[in-house]
C-alpha cells in the first residue's frame, strides 16, 4: 500500500530473533501472515462496480455477463475494521478504541491522552497571549492608519509572517539554550529529566516553567503576526463605518469610540479570526514540538510518520481535525450569541 510498508519494519525488526525464519520463502510467508493479521491485505474501501462475471463464482461461458454492471459492497475492508473493529486488536473507533500502535504496542488512546494536553494547552495559552499582545497594538495601528506607527507595525508583522516559526525557534535555541552563548534556558523537554521527589503541583510547575518559556514565545510569535494584520484590517474598516463617524460627530473622543463602539462590533470578527488561526497554530505546533522535544501530538505525528504507524497516524489526524472543527462550531455559536442579527438572517 505505502512505499515503506509497516510490515517490512516488523520483519526487519525481528530478523535478529533466532526463531525467525531465514529462508526467503518463509520470510515472505511471515510477511503475508503479518499483513493478514494487521488487516493490511484488505482493500481500503470496498464499494466496487463490477461486471456480473466477477461477482458470480460459477463459471458462465456467456460473455454477456461481462457487460452487465453490478454494485458490490463488501464489509470486510480496512475502513470498516477501523470503524467497527476487527475483534482482535481494536474494537473500532465507534467504541472509542483507536487500536494499538504498531511500534510501541500500546493502545493509541493511552498514547494520545497524555500528549493532547500539552499540544492543546500550549496552543491555547499561546493564542490567549497573542490576542493580549496584538489587540491593543492592532487597534492603535488602525487608529493611526498609514502613520509611522502603523507602517512599522505592518512591516514587523509582515516580516514575522515571512519567517518560518521553526527557524525562529532554532535561532532562539542557539541563542538562549546554548552553553557557549547564553546558557539561560534548557534546550528541550518539558521538565527536569529526573523529576525531583516530594514536589507539590505549584513546585512542579515552577520546575518546568523554564522549559516552557521558549516554546511559548515561538507559539505566540507566529500567531501574533497573523492576528496583527487581520485585526488591524478589520478595525480600520470598522473605524471607517458610519456609526464610528456618528460617534465622533457626537463628540466622543477617539479612545471612547475605539473601546466602546468599535471593539464591541469587532468581537464577532475577532472570533472568526481566532477560529481560522487555530488550525494554523496546530500546524505550526507540529514543527515546534519536534524542535523543543515537547511530548505533544505534533511530535507523536512525526514519530508515527517516520515509523509508519498507521493507527497512530489516523488517530492524530482524526483528533486534530475534530478539535479544529469543534473550534469552528464553538466560534459560530458564540458569534450567534453575540450578534443576534445573524440568526435572524437580517442584515447580513
Amino acid at each position: 500500500m505505502a512505499p515503506g510498508d509497516p510490515v517490512d519494519r516488523f520483519v526487519s525488526l525481528n530478523t535478529h530473533d533466532e526463531t525467525f525464519p531465514t529462508n526467503e520463502h518463509q520470510i515472505d510467508s511471515t510477511r503475508a501472515a503479518w499483513r493478514h493479521l494487521l488487516g493490511l491485505d484488505l482493500p481500503i474501501f470496498y464499494v466496487s462496480i463490477q461486471s456480473m462475471e466477477d461477482s458470480k463464482h460459477e463459471d458462465s461461458n456467456s460473455t454477456v455477463y461481462y457487460w452487465i454492471p453490478t454494485i458490490q459492497v463488501h464489509s470486510d475492508n480496512q475502513f470498516h475494521r477501523w470503524l467497527f473493529g476487527d475483534g482482535q486488536f481494536t474494537e473500532g473507533i465507534v467504541h472509542g478504541d483507536f487500536g494499538k500502535s504498531y511500534n510501541t504496542r500500546q493502545p493509541v488512546a493511552k498514547l494520545l491522552t497524555g500528549r493532547m494536553i500539552w499540544s492543546v494547552g500550549l496552543t491555547l495559552v499561546a493564542m490567549a497571549l497573542a490576542f493580549m499582545i496584538s489587540i491593543p497594538i492592532a487597534l492603535r495601528a488602525a487608529q493611526l492608519r498609514d502613520k509611522t506607527f502603523d507602517r512599522i507595525i505592518q512591516s514587523i508583522s509582515l516580516t514575522l509572517l515571512s519567517l518560518p516559526s521553526f527557524w525562529i525557534a532554532i535561532l532562539l535555541l542557539t541563542l538562549f539554550a546554548n552553553p557557549n552563548v547564553l546558557d539561560w534556558l534548557p534546550a528541550s523537554g518539558i521538565g527536569p529529566l529526573v523529576p525531583r521527589p516530594n514536589r507539590n503541583f505549584i513546585q512542579q510547575f515552577s520546575d518546568s516553567l523554564p522549559y516552557l518559556i521558549l516554546p511559548t514565545i515561538c507559539y505566540t510569535l507566529g500567531t501574533t503576526a497573523f492576528l496583527l494584520r487581520s485585526i488591524r484590517d478589520a478595525a480600520s474598516q470598522e473605524l471607517m463605518s458610519d456609526y464610528a463617524r456618528t460617534a465622533s460627530a457626537k463628540g466622543h473622543d477617539k479612545r471612547t469610540i475605539l473601546n466602546r463602539h468599535v471593539l464591541r462590533n469587532l468581537l464577532p470578527s475577532l472570533l472568526t479570526i481566532a477560529a481560522f488561526a487555530f488550525p494554523a497554530a496546530i500546524s505550526g505546533a507540529v514543527l515546534l514540538e519536534y524542535i523543543f522535544g515537547i511530548p505533544g501530538m505534533g511530535s507523536l505525528l512525526q514519530e508515527a510518520v517516520v515509523g509508519q504507524d498507521y493507527p497512530v497516524l489516523s488517530a492524530v489526524f482524526l483528533i486534530s481535525s475534530f478539535i479544529t472543527l469543534s473550534g469552528f462550531a464553538v466560534c459560530d455559536l458564540l458569534i450567534a450569541r453575540l450578534d443576534p442579527r445573524i440568526v435572524k438572517g437580517g442584515s447580513l
Binding site: I49, Y66, L161, S162, Q308, F317
Partner: protein, 390 residues
C-alpha cells in the same frame, strides 16, 4: 534569475575548459564525461577535482561546488570566517585560497552551503509556483462555478439530471471494462478511457433525449436547481478546517518522496482558501451591470464566465497566487526540515536548517537559509498584499 542560473553559478563542472588543445564546455554539454587528455578515455567530470587540476585554460563557475559534492578537507561544519583547508596529493594540508573558499561554510559532510542555497532557491520556487498553479486552477474553476451559479442558477430538468448521472455511471463502467479487456496500461489507458467515456456520454445523452419525449408528465420536466454553492462550501470548509501541515504530513508519509508528489500534495490541499476568495469575488461581480449586458447580448454562461468575469478577477487571482506560493514554500521548508517529503539529496533550505539541529555551533546553517526564506517570502507576501489595498 538566481534560481534559473543556479547550475551555472554554483556547479562542480568548469564552464570552459581547454585541455589538450580542445575547448570543451562541460557545464553546458550535459554529458557527465570529459576528455581530459587526448587519446585517453574520457573521465567522469564529477570525479575530477577541477580546482587543482592543471589545464591550459579553464573558467570555473563562481562557486565551484555542486550542492551534493562533499569537500573531504572541510567536513564537520567549516565556518565561513575561519580558515578552510585543502588536502594536497602528497597528504599535506594547506589553506584554501580565497577563490575556492566556502563563502557560507559547509555542512557536516562538507557540502557547500552557498551552493545548496542557490539550488534550494530553485527547488523552493519550483514547488511554490507549480503547486500554486495547480491550486489556482482547481480553486479558480470551482470558485467561479460556485460563485456564478450560486444555489439556484444552475437549473436542469429532473429527467436530464437522472439521465446524466446514469450515463456517467454507465460510461465509466464500460470504459474500465474495455481497458481490462484490451489489457492496456500507462498513458494509453487514460487516453482511451477518456475517449470512451466521452463517446458513450454523447451517445447516451442522445438516446436519453429521445427517451425523454415519452415521459410526458410535468414531474419529469420540472427544473430543479443544483446547490453548487452548498456543495462547494461543504467541501472547502472541510479542507480549511483541517490543519494543513497535519494533512500534508499524513499523506506525505504514504507517498514516495519526490518533488512532483510534493507539488501535487501541496497543490491539492491548498486550493480551498483561494477558491473561497474567488467565490466571494465572483458573487460580487455577477450582479454587476456588464454581466447582465453580456447576458442580454446573448452570450452563454461559458462566455460570460471566461471572457467577461475572469479578466476582472485577474488582480485577485494574482494576489492569491503570490501569497499562496509563499505558503507553499513555507510548507515545503517545514516538511524538509522534519525530513519528510523531499528525497534526501534534494538541495533545499529546510534541509539546511535541519542540518543545523545537529550542531548548535554552526550558526551559518541557521541564519543564512532562514534569511533567504524570509527575503523570498516577504517579497512574495508584499507583492501579494500591495495591490489588495489599492
Amino acid at each position: 534569475m538566481i534560481a534559473l542560473l543556479a547550475p551555472l553559478i554554483a556547479s562542480h563542472d568548469p564552464l570552459v575548459l581547454k585541455a589538450g588543445g580542445r575547448i570543451q564546455f562541460p557545464a553546458f554539454s550535459g554529458s557527465p564525461y570529459v576528455q581530459l587528455i587526448p587519446g585517453n578515455s574520457p573521465v567522469l567530470s564529477s570525479e575530477v577535482d577541477w580546482r587543482f587540476t592543471p589545464c591550459e585554460f579553464k573558467i570555473l563557475p563562481l562557486i565551484c561546488y555542486s550542492p551534493s559534492e562533499q569537500d573531504a578537507a572541510n567536513t564537520n561544519f567549516a565556518s565561513p570566517f575561519k580558515s578552510q583547508y585543502h588536502t594536497q596529493k602528497d597528504g599535506t594540508t594547506t589553506k584554501l585560497s580565497w577563490r575556492y573558499r566556502h563563502w557560507m561554510g559547509t555542512t557536516r559532510s562538507g557540502q557547500d552551503v552557498l551552493s545548496i542555497l542557490l539550488h534550494g532557491c530553485r527547488t523552493s520556487l519550483i514547488i511554490g509556483i507549480f503547486s500554486m498553479l495547480l491550486a489556482a486552477f482547481i480553486g479558480l474553476l470551482s470558485g467561479l462555478f460556485a460563485g456564478y451559479y450560486g444555489n439556484d442558477r444552475l437549473k436542469i430538468q429532473r429527467i436530464n439530471l437522472w439521465g446524466f448521472l446514469f450515463a456517467g455511471f454507465v460510461s465509466v463502467f464500460y470504459s474500465i471494462q474495455l481497458i481490462e479487456l484490451a489489457s492496456m496500461n500507462g498513458w494509453r489507458k487514460l487516453l482511451i478511457s477518456f475517449t470512451v467515456i466521452l463517446i458513450l456520454l454523447w451517445l447516451i445523452n442522445k438516446a436519453i433525449s429521445i427517451v425523454t419525449r415519452f415521459f410526458t408528465q410535468p414531474f419529469y420536466h420540472r427544473y430543479i436547481s443544483i446547490p453548487v454553492d452548498e456543495i462547494f462550501t461543504a467541501v472547502t470548509i472541510t479542507f480549511i478546517s483541517l490543519p494543513r501541515l497535519v494533512l500534508v504530513l499524513s499523506i506525505a508519509a504514504i507517498l514516495k518522496p519526490s518533488i512532483t508528489s510534493l507539488i501535487l500534495l501541496i497543490g491539492c490541499t491548498a486550493w480551498a482558501e483561494p477558491a473561497r476568495l474567488i467565490r466571494t469575488e465572483t458573487r460580487r461581480i455577477r450582479n454587476l451591470n456588464y454581466i447582465e449586458h453580456a447576458h442580454a447580448a446573448g452570450s452563454n454562461d461559458a462566455q460570460i464566465l471566461f471572457r467577461h468575469a475572469l479578466p476582472n478577477l485577474s488582480s485577485i487571482v494574482r494576489n492569491i497566487f503570490l501569497t499562496g506560493a509563499a505558503g507553499a514554500i513555507m510548507t515545503e521548508a517545514g516538511l524538509s526540515f522534519i525530513g519528510i517529503g523531499l528525497p534526501y539529496n534534494t538541495p533545499s533550505w529546510g534541509m539546511l536548517i535541519h542540518e543545523a539541529k545537529r550542531n548548535a555551533e554552526a550558526w551559518w546553517l541557521i541564519v543564512i537559509p532562514g534569511i533567504a526564506i524570509g527575503i523570498l517570502l516577504r517579497a512574495l507576501l508584499k507583492a501579494g498584499m500591495q495591490r489588495q489595498q489599492n
